[in-house]
Symmetry: C2
Amino acid sequence: MGESSLTSDWLARRADLAPCPNCHLRSLCLISAIEPQHLKAVSGHIKVLKPLRRGDVIYRAGAPTRKLFIVHAGAAKTSLNWHGGHEIICDYHLPGDTLGLDGLHTGLHTTTSVALETTHLCELNRESLGQLASGHPVLRERLCQDISRALARSQRHQLEISAKTAEQRLACFLLDLSTRLHARGYSPSAFRLPLGRHEIAKHLGMRTETLSRLLAGLRKKGFLSLEGREVRLLQQDRLRGLAGN
Amino acid sequence: MGESSLTSDWLARRADLAPCPNCHLRSLCLISAIEPQHLKAVSGHIKVLKPLRRGDVIYRAGAPTRKLFIVHAGAAKTSLNWHGGHEIICDYHLPGDTLGLDGLHTGLHTTTSVALETTHLCELNRESLGQLASGHPVLRERLCQDISRALARSQRHQLEISAKTAEQRLACFLLDLSTRLHARGYSPSAFRLPLGRHEIAKHLGMRTETLSRLLAGLRKKGFLSLEGREVRLLQQDRLRGLAGN
DNA sequence: CGCAAACTTGACTGAGCTCAATACCGGTGG
DNA sequence: CCACCGGTATTGAGCTCAGTCAAGTTTGCG
């Protein structure tokens, strides 16, 4: 049985699609920087998109950045690829995360973003963002914070990829996922992986085969149990020791 | 003989330390987003620091982010380290680059920044930044752009580290440096490395020994000549082919 | 039910790491 | 001016972690 997927869970909680004032995401979302009494006015700028299915492209590298997106429910990945062949997954995104921030400097997206499962997005175009930012200093502060957070995450990931062993990287990934799910109200020790094996491997800079072996290894050592995408972390403390933070 | 170092060159060009209105950096610098007629008023917020020497710490991971810094002349590195032992160099910074952007989200620096040679910085505290941003929409747009650019650089670096061979990473590094120096008015094909071998290696996620061997290899293949830190790119096109962008 | 995609497991290989020795270079003091 | 010294760079030899290639196996979807 296990937990149901992110999507169905979030869907169950959403009484309706009414935008920000009733949104359950609260402080996780960029928009929460706007004072409650102004939220209703702001809602006009936020468009709630109809659900995307796994594999749907949110934006493509090279396309103009006209909008930002916020994950309302579901999950997405952001990837970079290299003359057709190679692809890496820069990051994965959970509810509350803002998508498209890397396109602000040139006005063109540098990455491609794709839904990982059935996903609901909120859309905010750049002009609206500019207008809102003028009136709400807290919002523009928060926007900088969100880009800055993405930067810090990316740098931490750099460290992991370039200085840790494959097993340590996997441990870091599992712990990061656990923490982020926890922050969103889920169990930190039993969850469903939002990415497939191949995708996790591409995120961690290793081959699918290596990842598979490592997962088998961690299972044998009793750090976790897993069937398919359902994971249960059995010894988070030891996993943390392995990851070495 | 070769080119003199970044520092002495920039120093030679600087007639005096008069801040922004006469600054030679122009559009490379964040502050250039402010309209020329307002620059004089703004200058009060910008403090020009006395020169740092190689190894001087600009800020340390964990310390509160009260200021941003802009490299006026010289160079700096930004690094992340991992329980004392391991260190990686996330990025290196040339004149015009803004330092401290990764600390905006928590208000604490996540990285440590250190001068690579004699370096002049301009300092801008966060309150000033906030004030300026209120009055100058273009400036706040530019701030977002600069953070966004740092993010995109970091992601590209992720790709390089996790999907390219050591030799390709080295080629990418040399080309990136060449491009950035060119943008600052230097020769793209003959320059002095701002980082030592050990530092370059830590930036590229490899060992010093490996880097040394690769440099020797590229020299033998006729891609470049080098003595000490002075590099001359002899076949940029082939280097580009190797790097594969 | 059947097929393709996703995942696992095994055996072998090789790029890059480790350990170790040597060479070089810039600065300091006699 | 030279001799010395410590940090920096190069080169060599052997080893190892993770990649590659190749079968299987399981899963999920039409």
